[in-house]
Amino acid sequence: MKRRAVLGWLALSGQLASASTEELRAAILLYTGGVEPKPGGVQIDIAPLVENGNAVPVTLRVDDSPMRPDDHVQGIALFNQLNPQRDVARFSLTPASGKAQVATRIRLATSQQLVAVAKLSDGSYRSQAVDVVVTLAACVE
């Protein structure tokens, strides 16, 4: 079972903001052009416990989009909390995509929070946050 921690924006802004969390919020708002994403509606599939942060499989998806010209997911972006920089990847989709789902492999420097943001064709944004624990390799070449 993939663990998904739903973190509402209320909860996020209510926390004592560390520098990285502030940067994370800033990176997300840069992507959305200042629009607050609504929590939910986009999923991050990633193992909750990662044995090696060098290549972590992750799938991002918006399950309920018909992907029609008048109603589709235009983009999905992934952000992180504690890597050297906040952006991970930004994907742009079209109605021809058929399904709003992308997958890749990412690097995670340490245990941290990841946030996915989906941009919808009606101008709205959805977001989802997940916490990942990364155990680091003992023997580094």
Binding site: T59, A96, T104, R107
Partner: protein, 106 residues
């Protein structure tokens, strides 16, 4: 020319939504690592991936150093008609590569 592995069905029924997986050999050097001499290793990553169908952009990705080496990108495409898929990767140090595949739609 970097090695590329593209996994997708050669044929699909009209309207079927198919998965396309593109794997390319590339170090995706982050720019945050230091070499044995203590000097920072220059960033060298693929920054953009695009997929065109029949000349039209259907999918693209902007990649940052947090994407793992030898990047895998998986996305989906609704098969509408037979045609040529063009995949392009661009990045640092003038990296540029194009691959094409034919999709037959029945």
């Amino acid at each position: 020319m970097a090695r590329v592995l593209i996994t997708m069905p050669a044929e699909a029924r009209r309207g079927e939504i198919i998965e396309i997986r593109c794997l390319i050999a590339h170090p995706m050097e982050t720019g945050y690592r230091t070499g044995d001499d203590g000097k920072r290793l220059t960033r060298n990553i693929i920054r953009r991936f695009r997929c065109f169908f029949g000349g039209e952009l259907v999918f693209s990705a902007e990649l940052f150093p947090a994407v793992a080496a030898n990047p895998l990108i998986s996305f989906w495409l609704r098969a509408s008609e037979s045609g040529e898929l063009r995949f392009s990767w661009e990045g640092d140090e003038g990296f540029s590569q194009v691959e094409t595949r034919v999709l037959t739609v029945t």
